[in-house]
Amino acid sequence: MSFFKKKGSCHEAPTVANDGARKVALVGNPNVGKSVLFNALTGAYVTVSNYPGTSVEVARGNAVIDGEHFEVIDTPGMYSILPITEEERVAREILLNERPNLVIHVLDARNLERMLPMTLQLIEAELPVVLVVNIMDEAARMGLSIDIPLLSRRLGIPVIGAATAKKVGLPEIRAAIRASVGGATPPFGYSRLMEGDIAAISTRLKGDYLLSKKSLALLLLQGDGEVADLVRSTEGEGAVDVEEGVKDKRFERRESFHLDLSMERKGIVKGILDGAFTAPEKRVVTLAERIARWTVRPATGVPLLLIVLYFGLYKFVGEFGAGTLVDVLETKGFKELFNPWITGVVKHFVPWVVIQELFIGEYGVITLGIRYAVGIILPIVATFFLFFSVLEDSGYFPRLALLVDRLFKTMGLTGRAVIPMVLGFGCDTMATMVTRTLETVRERVIATLLLALAIPCSAQLGVILALLSKSPGALLVWSVCLILIFLLVGLLAAKVLPGETPMFYMEIPPMRLPQLSNVLTKTYTRMQWYFIEILPLFIIASVLLWLGKITNFFETMVTWMSPVMASLGLPKQTAVAFIFGFFRRDYGAAGLYDLQTQGLLNPRQLTVAAVTLTLFIPCVAQFLIMKRERGWNVAISIGVFVSVFAFGSGWLLNRFLLMTAIL
């Protein structure tokens, strides 16, 4: 409940007319195009992707049709009105409590047979339902034909064929929203035995409910705790009678109630689709399907992954983003043009040197904070998010998930964790937020730990790659160290943390060519989020650094940390980089960059410093998100562990390198 409330509040945009506007709820399986339809109806934007279960939150928007206002609610994907996961619970909450004037069930034409049982459940609940059979274009390409009018007659509700991504069917959907329908009595029924059992419960229900009594009876028989609570509070004294009845029937049919019900629904769907849905004798195998096959076979999938990483991450994000773009923005834009100009302006208007320093000094808000944020981080993060969005929309991630599931299992994670892990290479803070989509608390903690420790974010990665690229041996040692630590800590975490790894299952969406507009909007929203969250931190960090400098706090800190640095075999100036690193890891890496250009570090020291810094405390923003998502205890434990582990590994690596003298 609290989950839903929290979500709801942050989406109550002022543009949504709540006063008496009719409510339209979009429901359906994951990945059938609800969000696309929502965007088309409201003109608002929710992230659309080709990854099942992307909309964890409820989005609300305002649609105007023929001058009338409607409130449109986009719900997370649900497979059935009996919820299993948190997302499904959130979606059902809306059906149960919000009294939508219209429920639009969106489903995938190709999977009509599999998804229709939910339509049956909605009709049975006597909700005002309109069925949108979406993705008709791809279905037609596969040679499927669907008789929409016949379907509508048999279901007793309006049915619309659509391809919302291509804007087909939108006028009909708008008209249906405008016309609005009432709940109808379902034109289908179950076996006499099942109907008898349902009646035994539904006749005992005396209260007033939003869902039909038949539907409630079925949910009670399936052991739905939320509905049981609702009935208990509504029925008052009669609740005992209902509960008795439910208990008896549940016991009577304990063997296979769920299965019997599913089988009966399957039978009904078969009857409805008879003659209304025809598939070609031979399956049409499209080119996209053939490519999709290659991505999931280990023999071709692993090389393909390496190619994707090489071109996407190394070439595009690394060389183009962190190289060419940074060069243009930071060196040419800031250092040569903007900084000298702003320095002149500030010096002209502000006579005090101390205040001048705050803005344009070595750690100035503008010359350091803004320059880092806009000149270095922006191009790297932008290219990364672009790369990520393209992959996401192509449908590659679910395939990557199944490819790495076995490996991730050894670390107490399932393939599902691949999304936060890959996203971590962009921004660990954002990735830590995304870990909430993982199934169990245990998985979330392990993923959070690994993100904090061993996954360098794109900004950091960019700087470190630039730093180490001059000595290939150092780059190799650094990569090997991080991969080993990632696996080792994952393995240990899985051993130490109690609990079981959940099973892995995932719907694999078809591979699609990403749509440019969609990719761009998505990249843009992610960047926007990044800037709103991150830019203030850059500025605060600059201010703190400035304070540290004028109060000589830094010098003291550097002195304190010198013994630690010495034990790692590093010059004491590196302490500055580590202090920077606490504010942002990439800041720290950039600090190293300065040291290296001054010629203060040899390859061994550089490698040790880079490894330690990569492992070292996540940036302040990530730490705050860790606290928000996992609570103080976990956040602080991870923080302490990561710090100790980082310096411990640095020390060991230094010993090892000294002994073997490989660098």
Binding site: Y79, S80, L82, I84, D108, R110, N111, E113, R114, M142, L144, G223, H258, L259, S262, M263, K266, R293, V296, R297, P298, P398, A401, L402, L403, V404, D405, R406, K409, T414, G415, M503, F504, Y505, M506, E507, I508, P510
Partner: protein
């Protein structure tokens, strides 16, 4: 005439010594029961065994009887473990009691239900019965978990066997329903299958719980 439980156990022990270890006999003083036990007389009286010079030997009818007895014992073990989920020592003990009920055709029924297993939970061979031979001849491969299918093969979903009802519901919502056709597209590193026009990936733990008729 039905043998006593003790007599059946003697036959089993003799089968292991004489047939499986290939000795052709069993030492009387190394048997579980005293040489004076009436069960030996019972077996000798029915011409199942012979006792010569402190050694037990099968007679032809006895060998056949021993074969059937050991088969019943190991089927009982399988039943305990696979279906009733009673494992370890307790399972062995229960199997010892249960095996004596598996005669007069009950063994064939149990064997068919278990899809004619070839080994007991300890890996020892279960001698095939007539039912196994018939099944092999008719080419009826019976119901196997999805993990037994090769990629590219398909079958009809027979049933889902899971103790977790949430998982069951999830599978059913995914279209894994008895009677639906399932195509296995790939078995490594994860199982990828198609039902209808959708594809799904699951891990081997889940694949083991989906049973398919080929």
């Amino acid at each position: 005439m039905k043998l006593t439980e003790k007599a059946e156990e003697i036959l089993e022990a003799l089968w292991i010594e004489s047939e499986e270890k290939g000795k052709g006999f069993a030492e009387l003083d190394r048997m579980e029961f005293e040489a004076s036990d009436p069960a030996y007389h019972e077996l000798a009286a029915q011409a199942f065994i012979e006792i010569k010079g402190g050694r037990l030997y099968f007679r032809p009818e006895g060998r056949e009887e021993g074969r059937k007895t050991i088969r019943r014992h190991r089927l009982a073990e399988r039943l305990m473990m696979d279906v009733l989920n009673i494992r370890g020592e307790n399972g062995d003990m229960k199997a010892c009691q249960f095996e004596h009920l598996l005669n007069e055709g009950v063994d064939a029924k149990v064997c068919t239900m278990l899809n004619h297993p070839a080994t007991c939970p300890h890996g020892k061979p279960i001698p095939p019965g007539e039912c196994c031979e018939e099944a092999r001849k008719s080419g009826d491969l019976g119901v196997v978990p999805l993990t037994e299918l090769k990629s590219g093969e398909d079958g009809d979903i027979a049933y889902i066997q899971t103790e977790d009802s949430k998982k069951m519901q999830k599978l059913m919502a995914m279209g894994v329903l008895p009677g639906n056709r399932i195509f296995l597209l790939q078995a490594f590193p994860s199982y990828i299958f198609r039902v209808g026009f959708s594809e799904f990936a699951i891990d081997s733990a889940m694949a083991r719980e989906i049973f398919v008729r080929r």
